[in-house]
């Protein structure tokens, strides 16, 4: 069965999540410029997602097979994004398009 995680860990994760949400909201008014603002916002989003996956979804306390499943999801999402963008970002622009 899933490990029973002490409630105080959930509260700490929740405070961290709210803190990161406020941080990313505040940083959006700084206007870091593109692509830095997107990189910062997405890094914070990945951090928040990891907190949810590891603690709220108990993956930190789960079997190795669960880790394999979660890792597969991240890996295939990475393939989709990286392979697609490696195409679009390296295309020559056609004049008039």
């Amino acid at each position: 069965m899933a490990a029973v995680v002490p409630r105080r860990i959930y509260y700490r994760v929740y405070v961290a999540l709210l803190g990161l949400a406020l941080l990313t909201w505040g940083l959006s008014y700084v206007h870091l410029g593109d692509p830095l603002s997107a990189i910062v916002a997405l890094t914070i989003a990945i951090g928040k997602a990891l907190l949810v996956v590891l603690f709220f979804m108990h993956v930190r306390y789960s079997s190795w097979l669960t880790w394999v499943f979660v890792g597969a999801g991240i890996a295939w999402m990475g393939h989709l994004l990286i392979l697609t963008m490696s195409d679009y970002l390296t295309r020559a622009t056609v004049p008039g398009w």
Partner: protein, 212 residues
């Protein structure tokens, strides 16, 4: 352990094995959901790269305050869902029902705020096909951004509605005393789904509202 015998399906050796199978089954489903939303996220990234100025102009028309408020509401609903699972693990069934109802309440608040946002956008003429009156710079690209916004947020809202239906079933089952410290796998598995929907929003929020 009478309740353990009734909860265990005959193809499993024990409840731990049954739990592991259910848990992995939900994760396998969530991976298909990652690919489902992933396609949209990658298309969004491709078009944002191509039409950066238009997407930034579109993003500036969204209500950041309501988007941030909704982020906080949804993160809170994830906390109450985690606490519901915790209550189930400890066998506190009354507490479990309360946390499930609280999670549903927060989910409904999220959908209410989202609906209010949609209404605001309709009145501002930002809804493609229904009422699109934006004539500023990059109008076709802003329209494309708004199409992405409505498709992605409405699919997310649909997942919230499915989550709310599943939570309703859980509340009824909890009231009927079907969960105990020994058996509460449905609570954990639907909890995973609810947290996943939260994660989708964690990425939608910066991509749609903040990167401007």
């Amino acid at each position: 352990m009478a309740e353990q015998r009734t909860a265990l399906a005959h193809q499993f050796d024990d409840l731990a094995q049954q739990y592991e199978a259910s848990n992995l089954g939900m994760w396998a489903f969530l991976l298909t959901e990652v690919m489902f939303f992933g396609g949209l996220f990658v298309s969004y990234t491709v078009y944002r790269t191509a039409y950066l100025a238009g997407f930034i102009a579109g993003s500036q028309h969204l209500n950041v305050l309501l988007g941030t408020l909704n982020t906080a509401v949804l993160l809170s609903s994830s906390l109450t869902m985690a606490l519901a699972v915790h209550a189930a693990q400890e066998g506190h069934t009354r507490l479990l029902s309360r946390f499930l109802l609280l999670t549903m309440l927060l989910g409904l608040v999220f959908l209410g705020i989202k609906g209010y946002e949609y209404a605001l956008e309709y009145h501002e003429g930002l809804v493609p096909a229904l009422n699109f009156a934006y004539t500023g710079p990059h109008a076709p690209q802003v329209k494309l951004f708004m199409i992405f916004y409505f498709v992605m947020t409405s699919l997310h809202a649909l997942h919230m509605l499915i989550g709310l239906s599943l939570l309703t079933v859980l509340v009824v089952l909890a009231w009927r005393g079907r969960f105990s410290a020994a058996y509460h796998t449905p609570v954990e598995v639907i909890g995973l789904y609810w947290h996943f929907v939260d994660i989708v929003w964690i990425f939608l929020y910066p991509l749609l509202y903040l990167v401007r």
